[in-house]
C-alpha cells in the first residue's frame, strides 16, 4: 500500500470486451461521474465515445514485435508514442484509460508497459478490466480466441447485462469465467453499473498486492471433492457407496503420517499426482489399491457397491473420492460397526471447465532453490510463454527471510524481494492463467525446484 501512495506514476486501466459488451456505457459513466480525477481516454481511431472531445485521443492499434518475431514481446507502438507525448504536459492527467477494440488481444497493451523504459518510468499499469456480455458471450467464447484472452488477462471481470438472462445462466457463466481466470474479481452488473473503486486504482499489477486480491484464488483445484482421515487397525474393512449418476468414480487411499488435518494436508499433492495416474478398474467385491500411483477407478455397478480395503500396517489413512460425500455417501465399516473419520474436508468442486483456458494455482511448503527455479521458469516461459497469459507468485527462496514476489505477462516478468515473512508461515504460492496448461506438469516442475 505504501508504494501505491508514494508512486508518482500515473495509473493506467485497460478496458477490453467484445463489441456490445458495454464498454462505451462504462466509459461514459467513468467520464461523467464526479470522481475529481482528470482522466484521458485513448481509444482506437474511430471510437464511439462522444464526450468532451479534449479528453479523448485516437490511436491506431499498431502492434509490433520487439525481438525477432517473438509474439510474446509484441507491443503497441501507438501507445508508446501517444502516451509519451501526453505525459510531457505539465498539467498531467491523474488517470489514463485505454479502450481496446472488441477483437483486441490485451497482451500487447500490457506488455508495452513492461518493455519500454519511458512507459515504465512514467506510468503504471493498474489493471485490465474486461466486460463480458452475459447474454451473447456464449456465441464467442468457443470460437473467438480473443474472447478467451480478454477474460484470461483480466484483473476485473464485469458480467454485464445480467438483467437480460436468467440467474441460473449467470451462475453458469460466473463459474465458467472463474475457472478460466482465478485471479480476477468478478462482478455482475446491469448497464455497466459498478462502483468505480472496484475498477480503478485496484493495483492489479502491483507487486505488493500481487496475491492479496482474493485468498481463495490460490486454493488449488483438486481432482477430488472429498477427503477423509481414518485411524485404521490391521484387517479387513468394507467401503460401501450409495448409487449415483456416474458409471465410475476415482478413489485414492494413502497412508498418512498422522491422523489429523495436517496429516491429510501433507499428502494433498501426492493425492493430486495419484489422481493423474493410470486408472485401475476395481469392480464391486474387489479390493482397493493403497498408496501412491494406485488410482482406483470404481465401477459403480452391479449393486450393492461394496469394496474391500485390507490394511496390513495399522495407522492413519486418507481416502480421497472424485465426487462429493453427498453424492455417494461413502461409509467405511469393520465387523464391529461404522467408522467415523477423524477429520474430513469437502474440496472445492471442479468448475465447469473451459476446454482451453484455465488457471493453475500451486501452493507448496518449503524453501525453493533459486537456481533450480530460474532454470525451470526459463524453460516454462520459453516453451509455453505464448500460452501463459498472466502469472503471479509469492515465493520462499532458500537463504532469504523475506517474501519474493513476482508477476508477468507472457514471457516478460518483474519480481523483487518483498517484506520479511515475519509471523506469516513461509510458503510458495504461484498462479498461471493460460491456454492448454498442463496442471500436473507445472505442479511437478515447481515441486522439483524445492531446495
Amino acid at each position: 500500500m505504501t508504494t501505491e501512495v508514494n508512486d508518482p506514476r500515473v495509473p493506467v486501466t485497460v478496458l477490453t470486451g467484445f463489441l456490445g459488451s458495454g464498454k462505451t456505457t462504462l466509459l461514459n459513466r467513468i467520464l461523467t461521474e464526479n470522481h475529481g480525477k482528470r482522466i484521458a481516454v485513448i481509444e482506437n481511431e474511430f471510437g464511439e465515445v462522444g464526450v468532451d472531445q479534449e479528453l479523448v485521443i485516437g490511436a491506431e492499434e499498431e502492434i509490433f514485435e520487439m525481438n525477432n518475431g517473438c509474439i510474446c514481446c509484441t507491443v503497441r507502438g501507438d501507445l508508446i508514442r501517444v502516451l509519451g507525448t501526453l505525459m510531457k504536459r505539465r498539467d498531467r492527467f491523474d488517470y489514463i484509460l485505454i479502450e481496446t477494440t472488441g477483437l483486441a488481444d490485451p497482451g500487447p497493451v500490457a506488455q508495452t508497459f513492461f518493455v519500454d523504459d519511458e512507459m515504465q518510468s512514467l506510468l503504471r499499469l493498474d489493471g485490465i478490466v474486461t466486460l463480458v456480455d452475459a447474454k451473447h458471450i456464449w456465441q464467442h467464447i468457443d470460437d473467438a480466441k480473443e474472447a478467451k484472452e480478454q477474460i484470461a488477462f483480466a484483473d476485473v471481470l464485469l458480467l454485464n447485462k445480467v438483467d437480460l438472462v436468467p440467474p441460473s445462466e449467470v451462475d453458469r457463466l460466473h463459474a465458467h469465467v472463474e475457472a478460466m481466470n482465478r485471479n480476477a474479481k468478478v462482478y455482475r452488473t446491469e448497464n455497466a453499473q459498478v462502483n468505480l473503486g472496484e475498477i480503478l486504482d485496484i493495483g492489479g499489477f502491483n507487486l505488493d498486492r500481487a496475491l492479496d486480491v482474493d485468498p481463495a484464488f490460490m486454493e488449488p483445484e483438486y481432482p477430488f471433492e472429498w477427503g477423509a482421515v481414518f485411524e485404521l487397525d490391521a484387517g479387513e474393512h468394507e467401503l460401501t457407496l450409495a448409487a449415483g449418476p456416474d458409471a465410475t468414480m476415482n478413489l485414492v487411499v494413502l497412508p498418512l503420517d498422522e491422523a489429523s488435518r495436517a496429516g491429510l494436508d501433507a499428502k494433498l499433492m501426492d493425492a493430486v499426482l495419484t489422481f493423474s495416474d493410470v486408472e485401475r478398474a476395481v469392480n464391486p467385491g474387489e479390493a482397493l489399491h493403497i498408496g501412491r500411483d494406485r488410482l482406483n477407478q470404481l465401477t459403480l455397478e452391479p449393486r450393492p457397491l461394496s469394496f474391500t480395503l485390507t490394511i496390513e500396517q495399522p495407522g492413519a489413512y486418507g481416502i480421497f473420492t472424485e465426487h462429493t460425500k453427498s453424492e455417494y455417501s461413502p461409509v467405511l465399516r469393520v465387523p464391529a460397526g461404522t467408522l467415523t473419520p477423524v477429520y474430513e474436508h469437502a474440496f472445492k468442486p471442479d468448475h465447469e471447465h473451459d476446454k482451453e483456458v484455465t488457471s493453475v494455482g500451486i501452493t507448496l511448503d518449503g524453501a525453493l532453490d533459486e537456481k533450480k527455479l530460474n532454470a525451470w521458469l526459463g524453460v516454462v516461459l520459453r516453451t509455453k510463454g505464448t500460452d501463459i497469459f498472466r502469472m503471479k507468485g509469492i515465493l520462499n527462496l532458500k537463504g532469504s527471510d523475506s517474501r519474493f514476489v513476482f508477476q508477468g505477462v507472457h514471457m516478460l516478468f518483474d519480481g523483487r524481494p518483498d517484506r520479511p515473512w515475519g509471523t506469516e508461515r513461509p510458503h510458495n504460492s504461484l498462479i498461471f492463467i493460460g491456454r492448454n496448461l498442463d496442471r500436473t506438469a507445472l505442479t511437478e516442475g515447481f515441486r522439483l525446484c524445492l531446495a
Binding site: E60, G69, T85, D117
Partner: protein, 355 residues
Amino acid sequence: MPGLIKRKNTGELTYRWQVEAGDHIHALRWSPDGGMLAVAPASGPTVVAAGATGAVMHQLPGHGFGTLSIAWGPDSSVLASSGQDGIIRIWDSATGAQRCALEGGAAWVEHVVFAPDKPLLASAAGRQLKVWDSAGHLVRAYPPHPSAITDVQWRPPQPSDSNTTPVLATSAYGGVRLWNTEQPEPLQRYEWKGSTLVIAWSPDARHIATGDQDSTVHFWIMATGQDLQMWGYPTKVRELSWDPLARYLATGGGKDITIWDTGGKGPEGTRPLQLRTHEEFVSAVAYQHHGPLLASASTDGRVLLWHPGRQPRRPLAEYRYDEEVVALAWSPDDRLLATGTENGLVRVFETPPPG
C-alpha cells in the same frame, strides 16, 4: 601533453537570456538567418523570440490540445507549426499573422519539416505523408504508410547536386523510405524488422543513421543499401547528431553518450567513444553546425559542452538546472546554444570561443 586545454576544471556556462514558455519544450528551432528562436511548448502558444535578446516577438496560438512540431522556411520568412488538432499552420514570421491552416490528414500532425533549400514543407500525420509549398498548396499527398510515420527528414543538399528534385526520408515500423515529389511510390526502401524512431542524414548524405525502439542504432549506406547495426544500448535511442564533417555520430539511448566513427572501416567492428558523466538518461545531443563542439543534455538537469576529439574526455563547461533538460539547439553561427526544460524554461548560452 602540449596543446591540452589549460582549464583544469569544467567551466560554468552563463546564459545570456531566458524565456519562460510554461510547459515541456517539444522543440527549439533557430530561424536559418539566426535572428529568431521559435519555442514550442507541449501546450500553449508557440513563442518566437529575438535571437540576440530573447525579446518575445510573437505568441502564435497553439494547436488546441498541444503543439507537436515546428519548422522554419528556408528564408526565415515563415514558420510552420502542427499539433493535436490535426492542423498545420503557416505563420508570417515578420507579423505573426497566420497565412494558412492545412489539414494534416489525421488527428495528430506529429511532424512538419521544411526542405533546407526549397520552399517545400513535408508533414506527417499518422500514416499520412503530404508535401506542401510555402503558400500552403498541396504538392503531393502520398498513399498511406503501413504504420504511423515516426520521423521525416529532407536530404541535405550537396554541392554536386544539379537540379535534382529534393528527396525526403520517412521512418516507421519496418525501417526507412525515400521519396521525392515526382512520384507517389517510394524511391527506395531500407527495411528493418523493427520500429525506427528517428532519422539523421549525415551532412554529406552518404548515410542515414536511425535510432530504434529495439535499442539499436543503424547506419544505412545510401549508395549500397547496406545496414550496419549497432547493438547494446540500455534504452530505445532517440538522440542522434552528426558532426559537420559527417564522420562522427553522437547518440544517446542511456546515460552515456556514444560516439561512432564512420571514418576508415568504421563504424562496424569498431569501439565507439563513450562519454560518461551524466547521472541520468541523456535527453539530447547536438553537434555544432560548423565547429567541433558537442552539447548534451540530460534528465539529471545538466547541459554539458564537450570537445570529443580532445583529451581529456571531460566536459569543457556545464550548466545545472533544477529540472530535466529536454531540448538543445545551436544557433546557425554556433555562437549561441538554446536549451529547454521539462517545465518550459528556455535559457540561451554564449558559447566559449573556440580554443
